[in-house]
């Protein structure tokens, strides 16, 4: 039964990435928290397939930053969700875009970007985290985003009864991967080919891919990093950007395009291919075969939308978080009060006489 006391909240986003491979992942997370802050989406799960504590720690630091941990002023945007970490991911290295921001200290010598991940058990078991996130969503009110190798989502598919759950709760999976209609092997697919094949074969909802060509055609401008993020003297995404490559440079934005499509799929930012089926070749290339019954599509860039896309990228990713009022403060308070009142009334009730309680029948 779904509790009927509230209207549906904004769509819930399950975000899994290989955080650390490209600055694109950090920008995508910033964009996602930007949409969260605008009440256009809710981040309900964050996990990483890079088996490195710094990858999870960076994600948590960004989440806390948007929750106001740096200067304590932002309030409701972002949450201190546990971050899932793959223990058997195919990519494991720590990269400068992770180590750079995490190494920064305050004048007092404390980490500038606070996080609570110092050992493996500070992170969450990924299949349980993602499955549990879906269980608490209204039907068809969540979207899965994959901005990295498919390692984690493939493992989620091994859980019992999970495909029915995903079918019920999740509209579609948006992922960064492949190259369309043809192209070279793409990093996310090539990093874990068995997982990608499993995902394409078994994921129960439609899958929408943003191929390499999309991110390449929509460079995130370095000027935005210098200008639009300046509201904060310290920003974990800016510091990651600067640590990733010598400035100035424009960044690929494949993961950002995936986030944008997921949250605004109906707003015409991208065109979609016909449906079809994607196969993964042995060298990591993707092969799309059109088919009316196919569940896979890929994004097609409409040149007329390019300026509009870059504009929303820069505006939302760099947006300063603002305190967000509870959606239903009065209703939630009333429900809590009713619950306590009901309990008080019950506590005053006379207990049932023992004669009314039948002991269980002897089992032998």
């Amino acid at each position: 039964m779904q509790f009927q006391g509230q209207a549906k909240p904004p769509v819930g986003i399950v975000f899994d990435s290989g955080m650390g491979s490209s600055i694109d992942g950090a920008l995508a997370l910033a964009l996602l928290y930007g949409f969260d802050g605008k009440n256009e989406a809710r981040v309900i799960s964050v996990s990483v397939s890079r088996s490195n504590l710094s990858s999870a720690a960076y994600c948590e630091a960004v989440g806390r930053f948007y929750a106001g941990a740096v200067n304590g002023g932002f309030g409701g945007v972002g949450r201190n969700l546990p971050v899932g970490l793959s223990v058997d991911g195919k990519i494991k290295d720590e990269t400068p875009m992770l180590s750079g921001p995490l190494a920064k200290l305050t004048p007092e010598g404390k980490p500038l970007y606070a996080h609570g991940i110092h050992q493996l058990n500070d992170t969450a078991e990924v299949p349980a985290l993602i499955r549990n996130a879906f269980t608490s969503q209204y039907d068809q009110n969540s979207i899965a985003i994959l901005a990295g190798p498919a390692t984690n989502f493939a493992q989620v598919l091994d859980l019992p009864r999970v495909k029915d759950l995903i079918t019920a709760k999740c509209r579609f999976l948006a992922m960064t991967g492949g190259a369309f209609p043809n192209g070279n092997p793409e990093f996310n697919i090539k990093a874990d080919i068995p997982a990608a094949r499993k995902l394409f074969a078994e994921w129960p909802t439609p899958i929408i891919l943003s191929g390499f060509e999309i991110g390449e055609a929509l460079p995130f401008p370095a000027a935005s990093i210098e200008k639009d993020f300046a509201w904060s003297p310290n920003h974990p995404v800016v510091d990651a950007y600067k640590a990733f490559k010598p400035m100035p440079y424009d960044a690929l934005s494949g993961d950002m395009s995936t986030v944008l499509y997921a949250v605004h799929s109906q707003d015409g930012y991208f065109k979609l291919s016909d449906p079809g089926t994607i196969a993964v070749l042995d060298d990591g290339r993707t092969k799309f075969t059109a088919s009316p019954q196919g569940k896979h599509r890929y994004l097609i860039l409409d040149p007329a939308q390019k300026e509009r896309i870059i504009k929303i990228y820069t505006e939302v990713a760099s947006a300063k978080p603002v305190p967000r009022a509870p959606r239903f403060p009065r209703k939630e308070k009333e429900l809590k009060e009713k619950e306590l009142k009901d309990q008080e009334l019950k506590d005053k009730e006379i207990p049932v006489k023992p004669s009314e309680i039948k002991p269980p029948a002897p089992q032998q």
Partner: protein
């Protein structure tokens, strides 16, 4: 003289209306057998309600147990026999869009691992892990399982925001729609264990008690015959065992006498001691005998019902337990919650001491048990369901569970993983249970 013959494990002392199973004796091990008879492994769950004051439950370290937290302190003498588990989660105790009712959900999901249906009528949860095991191995013992409790509680009606009392007042579920209510009355349990299984009415029992002798008197003849064939160690074990049964009888008689003097009309099951600690001890004493005599290998013990507002006047706490847990971080209320939590652990520690004192084979009865002690809510004030207060007592037979440690698992690790691993240890193997994602690593270090 050494012979290849041994005493059958299922030997009973019989008398009129009485059947007393025997504990595990050396004589039950064939002297020249190629393999020795192993004591069975027992599995049980002791559940305390309303979460805990986690400030005083949690340990801030992992690995070998050092100083225990305030609430666990009564277990200090037995810390080499317990394993403290951190970060286990019951996702199906969470609201999952079903709104208020964490008490109903957390108890209904605790051993089932399933999301209970929010209803007061057509209840549905899942078959609990104890009953899955009982179904598989219950034919080896007189009782497939025992369900015990201490608090009088109804089985129908609304006990939490639209959740049936069947969820808050039961731990064991025989099927997804059939909970097994706990036995609350010590006399009823005694008669179930040692009588013919029929609980007498208070009036009939009163008539009988006028002429009552100890049940041991009815089995004197069998006892004497048995003793002839026992060695000195077994004779001592038998004497201690029968003495413990006699002790239980005396406790029962005292409780019944006290109750009659206090208030003969009180709506409390006949024979329930007025004192919580006495009641706890009496029930666990009988449970000990049941485990010792292999009457059952599976049990659940709902210390008090979930959401209870029982007052603990013996601790000079007149406030209800449940309202206290909504303490809003007021120190004076939190202090009372901690004292109640500690009081529960103290009773549990007393029972652990008893289990550890009973020799069984080369070890103790506790060595062959694995008993979960825990709550279905983490913090009664927050109503959260992650990092549930949980410890495992006993070694699960053959020194399987490496105790004396604290393990902090990864966040969101399902509690069902622990139960799946325990079921394995009971030789009941399933692919998954509840919302499990796999087995729980680290219980055994080898």
């Amino acid at each position: 003289m050494i012979t290849g013959k041994s005493l059958a494990r299922r030997t009973f002392l019989r008398g009129i209306g009485t059947t007393i199973a025997l504990p595990f004796l050396d004589a039950m091990t064939p002297a020249m057998a190629a393999t020795t008879t192993k004591a069975p492994v027992r599995m049980g769950f002791v559940y305390v309600p309303n979460g805990m004051d986690v400030r005083n439950w949690n340990l801030d370290y992992e690995g070998k147990l050092g100083e225990l937290s305030r609430i666990m302190k009564p277990l200090e003498p037995f810390k080499e026999d317990v394993l403290v588990l951190g970060n286990l989660t019951h996702n199906n105790g969470r609201a999952l869009l079903d709104g208020p009712g964490d008490h109903g959900r957390c108890c209904g999901s605790y051993l089932t691992g399933m999301q209970p249906r929010k209803t007061m009528v057509d209840i549905k949860a899942g078959i609990s892990c104890d009953q899955i095991v009982a179904n598989q191995i219950g034919n080896k013992t007189r009782f497939p399982s025992l369900e015990l409790g201490l608090e009088d509680a109804r089985q129908a009606g609304d006990c939490d925001s639209g959740y049936s009392c069947a969820y808050t007042n039961n731990l064991a579920w025989r099927s997804e729609t059939q909970p097994l209510p706990p036995v609350l009355d010590p006399r009823a349990l005694f008669e179930r264990l040692f009588g013919n299984g029929i609980a007498l009415s208070p009036e009939a029992r009163a008539r009988q008690s006028k002429y009552r002798r100890s049940i041991l008197d009815f089995v004197t003849s069998d006892t004497k015959k048995l003793e002839i064939n026992l060695g000195p160690t077994d004779k001592r074990k038998l004497e201690e065992y029968l003495s413990s049964i006699r002790s239980i009888e005396r406790q029962l008689e005292k409780a019944e006498k006290d109750n009659a003097q206090i208030d003969p009309k009180m709506p409390k099951p006949y024979g329930v001691p007025a004192d919580f600690a006495e009641h706890f001890k009496l029930m666990t004493d009988m449970l000990t005998v049941a485990l010792q005599a292999d009457l059952t290998r599976v049990f659940t013990f709902l210390v008090t019902r979930e959401g209870t507002s029982r007052a603990y006047r013996e601790l000079e706490i007149p406030d209800g337990h449940h309202p206290l847990t909504h303490h809003q971080n007021k120190p004076e209320l939190m202090e009372k919650v901690s004292r109640i939590n500690t009081y529960h652990v103290k009773q549990f520690a007393g029972w652990i001491e008893k289990l550890k004192s009973i020799q069984e084979g080369d070890g103790t009865l506790l060595d062959n048990c694995m008993i979960v002690y825990g709550a279905g809510l983490t913090d009664g004030n927050k109503h959260n369901h992650e990092d549930l207060p949980t410890l495992l007592a006993g070694h699960g037979g053959n020194n399987y569970i490496k105790t004396g440690r604290r393990i902090n698992y990864r966040k969101e690790t399902p509690m069902s993983n622990l139960f799946l691993s325990m079921m394995d240890r009971m030789d009941v193997h399933g692919e998954h249970f509840g919302d499990s994602t796999g087995r729980l690593d680290g219980l055994n270090l080898s």
